[in-house]
Symmetry: C2
């Protein structure tokens, strides 16, 4: 699984950071998922290798504009790029209402179907290679986190169990290995009972705006990576008096409490300057988070790319 | 008056051209007008000296997404930048409907008033330094051109007329010079009858999508500059079979027929490559237009800036 950040600014774009958008790419093939779609996300995609034709789903965390205003343009461009495959959209119900109003007012008709899944129902959605779970957060608008868990983890046959059961080596073993259930000696045998996974399924949780990271305790079970907003440092959060967002220490304290191995912070207030010597600087966020978190900490930047390998090792893709 | 192009691509953004947006700046002060606001226009503005606080009005030519999807984000950012001054929006009625739906669905409430003017009524709108006229075009959706004419052109007193009328040199002359009407010898005298303009008012017409340039004959009377789409060359327009747009020769033929001094083409299909040796190349559009037009021809590019000086001379701002 790869994460490619398309926007890492809160509220408004800056010269170096766009508003929210992150691409999660499957480990095999070209399939990808877009989590949030702030204005200009399609422009960012133009500078990557991602294709709108291999986009499996768009998942929106909440209805605020900096997380969804890029959606109509993204869909219009997918249409003009010739997409015909249906597209899944997992989002709060307000997004469907808004898109319908947008299509009508701006005379947009798509040549592909949109399959809406209402995140207010906390759905689990199964794609071919990925399962998505939905978790409720705390924000001024209803906000959600999406957990992406790998399906079909590479597995070896449990030869001991097969032998014990008396299943002869041959086509039946092959079918079980390929994930097919079989009939044997009048009994239905499930593939998954005869497979040993070669590694733990990879799991990444990507959260929307949220002022209570603790809500993610269960969602983060077995996850190697959490992507969470850290709009402010603690002092700035108090000064801004802006409810509904987290500050760096708050998220990092949560991550430490559950011994999460990798934390990626994003959605930074535009007040934080890229220059490490400026005040306030984006480095203030890092320093504050590091003061309470002992795992691997990353501050997302636009076009920053990360990979989570089979062994669960998470690292930045360089070069 | 200055023109600064923020987007010059048709339908979808490319790596080098954003979708529609052009800023018209007043010759004095910081006031400006935004004509069309495709997705990402606010991102383009970040790379200019334009401020959302000195924006006088947004004028939308028609409801298609590549001309308006940047509007909600632009307004949200103006709000976050602290704008409190009311903002005029001249646009087809569908835009107001869409913005209202957007504000509700995405929980956006602006700290400044929007003053909507319905372009379907072909309004004339007076700003302090600029008069705007609206003209109907021909496209798949109702589409409009906006004509911007300078008000308060620098003027000298008509001393002969003042003397003839017996108005004594002094405060009354001063008032007339400043544009104030006066009472003299029991008669109401209009300032404008005693002023001689030092130059013709500057006038620029900016058109939306349109397949009948001839509709602009009247609108272009006394105009020094027309900005018009040239989505295709003639051969490509036939091949694309896309109704509602103009090709280069068509617009240039019209401009030649009315002896228009300056024509700026924009809204190019993404098929046209920036490389002059590519096929099709953006230079094909230039060549086709030049073959029938003897005035000054410009092909707009993103961040290309032009100035129209007092004498009516139009030129690209370089450096």
């Amino acid at each position: 699984m790869n994460l490619l950040f398309l926007g890492t600014s809160a509220g408004v774009p800056t010269k170096s950071r766009n508003v929210a958008g992150v691409a999660l790419r499957e480990s095999k093939g070209k399939g990808w998922y877009l989590i949030d779609c702030g204005e200009g996300t399609q422009h960012q995609v133009l500078h990557t290798k991602l294709s709108l034709n291999s986009l499996n789903a768009i998942l929106i965390t909440h209805v605020h504009g900096d997380h969804c205003y890029g959606l109509p343009g993204m869909l219009a461009s997918a249409a003009m790029n010739g997409r015909t495959e249906p597209l899944t959209i997992v989002a709060p119900a307000g997004i469907k209402t808004w898109l319908d109003a947008t299509f009508e007012a701006t005379q947009l008709s798509l040549p592909f179907a949109l399959e809406f899944v209402d995140s207010d129902d906390l759905p689990s959605v199964e794609f071919e290679r990925i399962s998505v779970a939905t978790h409720r957060l705390s924000h001024r608008a209803m906000s959600y986190a999406y957990g992406f868990t790998e399906r079909k983890v590479e597995a070896a046959l449990d030869v001991g169990k097969l032998t014990q059961k008396g299943i002869p080596r041959g086509p039946l073993w092959g079918q079980l290995k390929q994930g097919m259930d079989i009939e044997f000696a009048g009994e239905r045998l499930k593939s998954r009972d005869f497979l040993i996974s070669k590694h733990k399924p990879r799991k990444v949780v990507i959260a929307g705006d949220n002022d209570q990271p603790d809500l993610l305790s269960e969602a983060c079970a077995e996850a190697q990576v959490l992507v969470h907003e850290a709009t402010y440092t603690e002092a700035m959060a108090e000064k801004a008096g802006d409810f509904g967002h987290s500050y760096a220490k708050q998220v990092a304290t949560f991550a430490e409490s559950i011994q999460l191995p990798n934390l990626v912070l994003t959605h930074f207030s535009p007040r934080y300057q890229p220059n490490p010597h400026a005040s306030p600087s984006i480095e203030d966020i890092r320093t504050e988070a590091q003061s309470v978190y002992s795992g691997s900490l990353y501050l997302a930047r636009d076009f920053g790319e990360y990979t989570l390998d089979k062994s669960g090792h998470f690292s930045e893709v360089t070069g």
